[in-house]
């Protein structure tokens, strides 16, 4: 499954393991399109592929198939794989420059003794973010999506295979900086965490409502800069709650360490609940 941007056809998706420095080309996005006929939706012709005798001239065939179904199937496989290992996975999304990597660096350094982290970095190009994460001592793989604007669940699956996270650990997935497309793609994560910052417009939640609706937590980063920017916090929070009244909103500054405790408490609660699915399956 690769409902990546079509424009990625001519540019490979690459996976780099920072521990070895090895880079591999992930399967060309559509090579696996015809793998496995796992049509679970009700359709009378499920077993008839390739048989034209079912298709008289101008026959209408009912499909009722979600276009993103293959991504969702991959996401469920990933979710099961993670649950089996009691691994908590979070999908960090934001526009470019909101501070995802800085927040990750800070979080890993502060909490590494409480919970082992590993990281999947998503960027169109370069290993720069992965190198920053590697400097914290944390295992990291980098997916370079080429021209594609988001990660999808099949990329996550390949990255996890390579990363091979420890049982009872946390995998942070830093998505490509983009507030649009990543909202469509379930990566198999426990939750999406959207990061906004006060150097952006305070109307981001209502301009990109899908992402704020898909997320469970919104971090409002860079609050140390509030005295210097025309950002109305109340207005931003009002927009965010209008789009998603269940959104947990945590204002903080990753660089000045303001209010990190609230974010860490939320993470600890997720960490404590990581075995819930495993127990419910037992």
């Amino acid at each position: 499954m690769c409902v990546t941007c079509g424009c990625s056809d001519d540019s490979d998706v690459r996976l780099t393991d920072l521990r070895t420095g090895n880079t591999m080309i992930l399967n060309p996005p559509h090579e696996h399109t015809h793998d496995g006929h796992t049509h679970t939706h009700g359709h009378p012709h499920d077993h008839e592929h390739g048989h034209t005798h079912q298709h008289a001239k101008g026959t209408v065939v009912s499909l009722e198939q979600q276009v993103l179904a293959r991504n969702d199937q991959w996401a469920e496989r990933v979710r099961g794989w993670l649950a089996g290992r009691a691994v908590l996975a979070l999908n960090l999304v934001s526009s470019p420059g909101a501070g995802k990597t800085t927040l990750l660096e800070r979080t890993i350094r502060d909490l590494a003794e409480e919970m082992p982290f590993s990281v999947i970095e998503g960027d169109q190009q370069t290993l720069r973010d992965a190198e920053r994460i590697q400097a914290t001592g944390c295992p990291v793989v980098q997916i370079n999506t080429g021209t594609a604007c988001h990660l999808d669940a099949s990329m996550t699956a390949r990255a996890l295979q390579q990363l091979d996270p420890h049982q009872n650990s946390v995998v942070m997935i830093e998505n490509v900086g983009n507030l649009v497309c990543p909202a469509l793609f379930d990566l198999g994560e426990r939750a999406k965490v959207v990061i906004a910052s006060v150097t952006e417009g305070d109307d981001k939640p209502i301009k990109y409502p899908h992402m704020f609706r898909a997320s469970e937590v919104m971090i409002l980063n860079k609050i140390d800069l509030l005295p210097h920017v025309p950002f109305d916090v109340d207005r931003c929070l009002e927009f965010a709650r209008q789009v998603n009244p269940r959104l947990r909103i945590i204002p903080l500054s990753a660089t000045r360490r303001d209010n990190l405790a609230e974010w860490y408490d939320w993470l600890r609660a997720q960490w404590a609940g990581r075995t819930e699915l495993q127990e419910s399956l037992a």
Partner: protein, 109 residues
């Protein structure tokens, strides 16, 4: 930007299901607040169909209005925007329709 990928996926699904038959028409249901542009999908669909058994197929797009259930009072709310407010004042809504991207049916010969 992602419409070309979505169009590729639609072509992959319909041509796979059609087997060696030719696809002449595809009906797509797109929610009013789904994250894709119908014009862009039309354009990309034609491009992606070239050289496949769906080449020349017509793409019909049916817009599905947005509807939600209010989690506070249970009333149904029409979603004119990708968010809304119930008459009871609650914005805690469970979406029923409006964000789907679904292939409803296709015609093959």
């Amino acid at each position: 930007m992602h419409e070309l990928g979505i169009a590729q996926e639609i072509i992959a699904i319909v041509t796979e299901r059609a087997g060696i038959a030719r696809v002449t028409r595809v009906v797509l249901e797109v929610g009013k607040h789904a994250l894709i542009l119908p014009d862009s999908i039309q354009f990309c669909f034609g491009l992606c169909a070239e050289g496949t058994s769906a080449e020349g197929a017509k793409l019909e797009i049916l817009e599905v209005p947005g509807r939600a259930l209010c989690r506070a009072c249970g009333a149904e709310v029409a979603l004119e925007e990708p968010f809304g407010t119930c008459v009871c004042g609650s914005t805690d809504l469970q979406w029923l329709t409006g964000d789907e991207i679904k292939i409803k049916e296709m015609e093959v010969i």
